[in-house]
């Protein structure tokens, strides 16, 4: 994993469909911390995550990783950043293992085995995802957190449809990411139980 010090959003303005979602947002996010984007429904939380991931272009402003503008080095950025959107790219027709192998081709069989064991998915390894419940499908998407080593995690509602045990498991994983010096930015409507989250406020 690459190590960095800070991710700086400088004067970001986002517009979606003629509507200003945020104007002149500036945040300095330190690595080793977790940031929670808070705001009402429709305030633009997901759009902000997409802007940081590089999927949307802000109408104004730049994002810096340490001192470098990320839009100048998108290739390096996509190696450092893991984005899981609301639709998380899990293929319903593929089995759990095939999905994981598609996104994390370098993961060894052992690592996949331990990750699946932790996520309670071991007995479903060869089951198509369409036969799993919503919470289990979410776990399949989240398994990428266990198997790849990006420094920056951008997670859109990662806790949705997870049960209590799943939530605790994910919080553990987020904590580990912070301890090894990573950065987590997420949106969620529920309060985190154990991790001390900094908040990025979006107002309508």
């Amino acid at each position: 994993m690459q190590s960095y010090v800070s991710l700086t959003l400088s004067n970001i303005s986002i517009e979606r469909g003629e509507r200003d979602l945020c104007k002149g947002l500036s945040v300095v996010a330190q690595f080793g911390r977790l940031y929670q984007i808070v705001g009402e429904n429709g305030a633009g939380k997901s759009s902000l995550l997409k802007v940081i991931a590089g999927l949307l272009r802000p109408i104004e402003g730049d994002i810096y990783l340490d001192d470098r503008v990320i839009s100048a080095a998108m290739n390096q950025w996509s190696r450092d950043c893991l984005y899981l959107g609301h639709q998380d790219g899990v293929k319903k027709l593929l089995t759990v293992e095939e999905n994981i192998r598609c996104y994390c081709p370098k993961a060894s069989a052992e690592n996949i085995h331990t990750a699946l064991a932790q996520l309670d998915l071991l007995s479903y390894q060869h089951t198509p995802v369409k036969q799993l419940s919503a919470g289990q499908a979410k776990r399949v998407a989240l398994s990428r957190l266990w198997l790849s080593d990006q420094a920056i995690w951008l997670l859109d509602e990662p806790f949705s449809s997870l049960d209590v045990k799943g939530r605790a498991l994910l919080e553990d994983k987020l904590e580990q990411q912070l301890i090894r010096g990573g950065l987590v930015i997420l949106t969620t409507h529920q309060a985190l139980l154990r991790i001390d989250a900094q908040s990025i406020e979006l107002t309508l």
Partner: protein, 220 residues
Amino acid sequence: MTYFSFLRAECCLVWRRKQNVVNSVLFFLLVIVLFPLGIDATPMFLSKAASGIIWCAAALAILTSIDSLFKEDYHDGSLEQWLISGLSVPILVLIKMTLHWLFIALPLLLLSPILSEVLYLPDNSFWPLFLSIVLATPSLFLLGGIGSAITVSLRQGGVLMLLIVLPLYLPIIIFATSITKAAQVGLPYDAPLAILAAIFLVSLVVSPLMTAISIKASVN
């Protein structure tokens, strides 16, 4: 994600969705069987119309199958993952289209000897027909991919896609059928064959780029 892991996942997906391939091929066969029944089943008429019938059926079968090329990827968020994977999206698109071409066009090619017998196609025009299918169906897929990517975020995008793609299909179908027509009367058919090859090469270069741009626009 790497190109290879993407290719492997896409192969699995095409295989799991083999019903779609069967549907397209069945549709192709049905059109060909119904045509003579509806118009005229005499060998004199059919031997002249055979290549046209086969080509119309092939174009329709490809159009119906290509409509949903990126639909599922759009709805499950895979397109977003392609865009931020750091891989070249035009190459991913090309991999996907090549796979679909293999799965749809190969059955059509395998069936073409039987069908040309069924439709009394003269022997001297079978190989020209075969060549025209080999050269022209990739262009149909490549150009159809652009339309499919532009309309992927629309709920009822099917008709719009037809409107975008059909004008691009016309020259291909005209030149493809003129190959067999020329062969039937013993004329050389190098010129339309060369034009089909040129259309294929141009769409091979242009289509993945355009499709990638359309995907980017659709995801936003």
